[in-house]
Amino acid sequence: MQKIPKFIQALLIVFGIYFGFILVFDVILDHLIPNSLLNMYMFFIVAGVLAVYTFTEEGTRELLAPIKSLVEDPSKVGTRKIVFVVVPILVAGYVFMQLLPSVEAPLELRSIHPAPPSTVKIYGKRYDLRTLTNPYRELEHEDPEEFSDMVEAGADVYVRNCHFCHGDKLDGQGPYAAGLNPVPLNFQDVGTIAQLQESFLFWRIATGGPGLPDEAAPWISSMPVWEEFLTEEEIWQVILYLYDYTGHEPRSFEE
């Protein structure tokens, strides 16, 4: 098989990835990531491809050969003329499109699960999140009846306070979810509470959106500060309920 020239290889890789992104994120996942972010990714990909291909001097030469011959090889006059007319027009067109005033909202990236503080002050007490455990968790084995009462109490807390946003089915699709951004999290999903320790949930529920560090954009989170509405006991109960209803297991410290 004939070897594909390095230049063409590089182009194929860059465009392949670009159209792959467009296909997956724009077409299949319906504009999951904004254009500005896509451009940023593409910048790194082009830089990466260049770095790989120009790693050796010979590689650089091979990569640039077709461009060089375009300018220097007298037999390529026809192609050269076409390329030299098309390239400036493409560049001018691109600049024109970029300078058209953008109406795409500014990009806001936030960390969904930021690192928790090691200790936190709630209800006037200091809790060490590295060792904090759910005081009712052991009832699961020791006193199943008492445990199911606790879960039931958690269910009450949930319908009275949480379902408006997180949904009756704990799927993040409560009656008001569509009006919130960021969206209330989906507890059925394997990417939320199934990944977390109960102490993390305790911190998140007690301190809500405003308790988040800056990288998680506390100013836009609509998650209320439940310390103001619920007792410590109720928070531990609702945590039991979240795991019981979804069938997920909390992550333990050993893992």
Partner: protein, 521 residues
């Protein structure tokens, strides 16, 4: 009707056999009907205990722990009342299929979710069988289904006839308003004494079922049991409608659905268009008509003390224009009531207490740096927000507008030394309020304003007839406003420059190539 005597039957038997085959096939393809009769009550109970007790209660009495925070409240199944029913108006037992559909699809605009994504069809049929035990409907057969006659297709004429019937003798408009927005002229209660509001028929996403003409036909024919929405098939009613007339009205109701000023999730930016001349006061003015509307969901204030669980408004639409002197924002939202404290009629419709209607635009006081914004519920100590607030007035006080500074949901707002102008108008169930703010009139202008730069913006609405005041209101999260740039030359200049630069580079390169060839030769 075809009646077949046994003799004829046997003679036609060979012909009928394939027909029987087809019926049997249908029954097996559509197993709902078959299962419905014999849904497994035991499994139904198990599913009910896991999924439904939180709202409907262990005893099916609607007294689950959440009942006092939900409007409408969860259904009390022991009452035997079902709102969405296709059994003709004089029956009260719903068809199994009706109950099944409500479990499957849920009831939009209420807390009742659809269950199709977590429960199997069998589970849902088992639930139907279980629910029917509460009022003892397992022992009763439902009456006949509504007579649909022949459906009248949607057409301009049919819609026109429907409109006439809708307004005739105030048949529907008495409750649903002249334009169908549910702007009530009387106070309506449900059977359990809970407050109900007539549906805003221009918002089909708030319908318990759907605005498909057939569903609307069923609602008009049966009414909505447990509420004051009556049956128009009932011969005892002075306002009774024939089957054909009901189709016309259904087609009209279907045509009322809003197509502009509806929420589209991608659209998070209020675009402020630049005008060269004056900004008109009249929302019907051509410039306002051309301004792009952007609509947002309103969410009840469930976040800070004191919370609000029973909102009545659900969307707000914003438009904006600006010129060299000022920026104007036009807000529009459907509100069923003009809340006028001191007015006897307004007080009759309102909840126990009545307040002014209000709307507020929230903006950061200081320009935002990086991604950081003020807390979306009334800002915070570090990053205060300013509120442009408009109040609808009372019988003794006129409308008013003011600018306030807020530093968080729990701290009282402070008056600002700025002013804003605002003027509101209420018509057929819709408030239209126009805000105007002078640009750079005072040094600490509330709006740091630059063409082409995004400004965070949020909104809050109070419906005074729904006891909304202070922290009890609806709000939006942060969105954006963008004063669109007026200059259109920049992209052209940029493109020409880019063209020249690239051609220049090409020339240099060609020259270099030519020189190299010469040298080689």
């Amino acid at each position: 009707m075809i009646t077949l005597t046994p003799l004829k039957f046997s003679r036609k038997l060979p012909l009928l056999l394939p027909l029987f085959g087809a019926i049997v096939l249908c029954l097996s393809v559509v197993p709902h009907v078959a299962f419905a009769a014999e849904g497994d009550v035991e499994n139904g109970e198990a599913v009910y205990l896991k999924r439904c007790v939180g709202c409907h209660g262990i005893d099916g009495d609607g007294l689950g722990p959440g009942y006092d925070r939900l409007v409408p409240p969860p259904r009390d199944f022991t009452s035997g009342m079902f709102k969405i029913m296709s059994t003709a108006f004089d029956g009260y037992v719903p068809q199994d299929q009706d109950i099944y559909e409500m479990i499957r699809l849920g009831m939009p605009g209420t807390a009742m979710p659809g269950w199709a994504d977590v429960l199997s069809e069998q589970d849902m049929w088992d639930l139907v069988a279980y629910l029917k035990m509460f009022p003892g409907y397992d022992e009763e057969t439902p009456g006949p289904v509504v007579d649909y006659g022949e459906q009248v297709a949607i057409s301009a004429e049919s819609i026109e006839i429907g409109k006439t019937l809708f307004l005739e003798d105030d048949r529907c408009s008495e409750c649903h308003g002249d334009e169908g927005k549910g702007d009530a002229i009387k106070r309506l209660l449900g059977d359990n004494g809970e407050r109900t509001w007539p549906r805003n028929l221009t918002k089909p996403w708030t319908f318990l079922h759907s605005n498909d003409p057939k569903d609307v036909f069923t609602r008009i024919s049966v009414g909505i049991p447990g509420t004051q929405m009556p049956s128009f098939a009932d011969p005892a009613s002075k306002l009774q409608l024939s089957i054909e007339e009901r189709w016309h009205v259904a087609n009209y109701v279907n045509s009322l659905a809003k197509t502009v000023e509806v929420v589209s999730a991608e659209n998070t930016v209020v675009k402020s268009h630049r005008l060269d001349g004056e900004i008109a006061d009249d929302p019907e003015d051509a410039a306002w008509q051309e301004a792009t509307p952007t609509t947002f969901f309103l969410v009840p204030q469930l976040i800070a003390k004191t919370r609000h669980f029973t909102p009545s408004n659900d969307t707000i639409t914003a438009r904006s224009l600006y010129n060299d002197d000022e920026i104007a924002v036009l807000l529009k939202w459907d509100d069923r009531t003009l809340s006028l404290p001191g007015d006897e009629d307004a007080e009759k419709i309102a909840d126990s207490s009545i307040y002014e209607d209000q709307v507020a635009i929230q903006l950061p006081v200081n320009p935002t740096k990086g991604a950081a914004k003020p807390y979306f519920v009334l800002g915070d100590k570090e990053r205060p927000v300013s509120l442009w607030r408009w109040r609808s007035g009372t019988t003794t006080e006129p409308q008013s507008a003011s600018v306030e500074i807020a530093t968080g949901p729990q701290t009282p707002v402070e008056p600002s030394n700025q002013t804003v102008q605002a003027n509101g108008r209420y018509e057929s169930g819709t408030w239209t309020v126009l805000f105007r703010q002078k640009l750079n009139a005072d040094h600490d202008s509330a709006l740091t304003f630059a063409e082409g730069e995004f400004i965070p913006m949020a909104f809050a609405v109070w419906d005074g007839s729904n006891s909304e005041t202070e922290t009890k209101h609806t709000l939006t999260t942060w969105y954006w406003m963008l004063p669109e740039s007026s200059s259109t030359a920049l992209p052209f200049i940029g493109a020409i420059l880019a063209l020249l630069i690239v051609i220049g580079l090409e020339m240099l390169w060609l020259r270099a190539g030519a020189r190299k060839r010469e040298a080689e030769a």
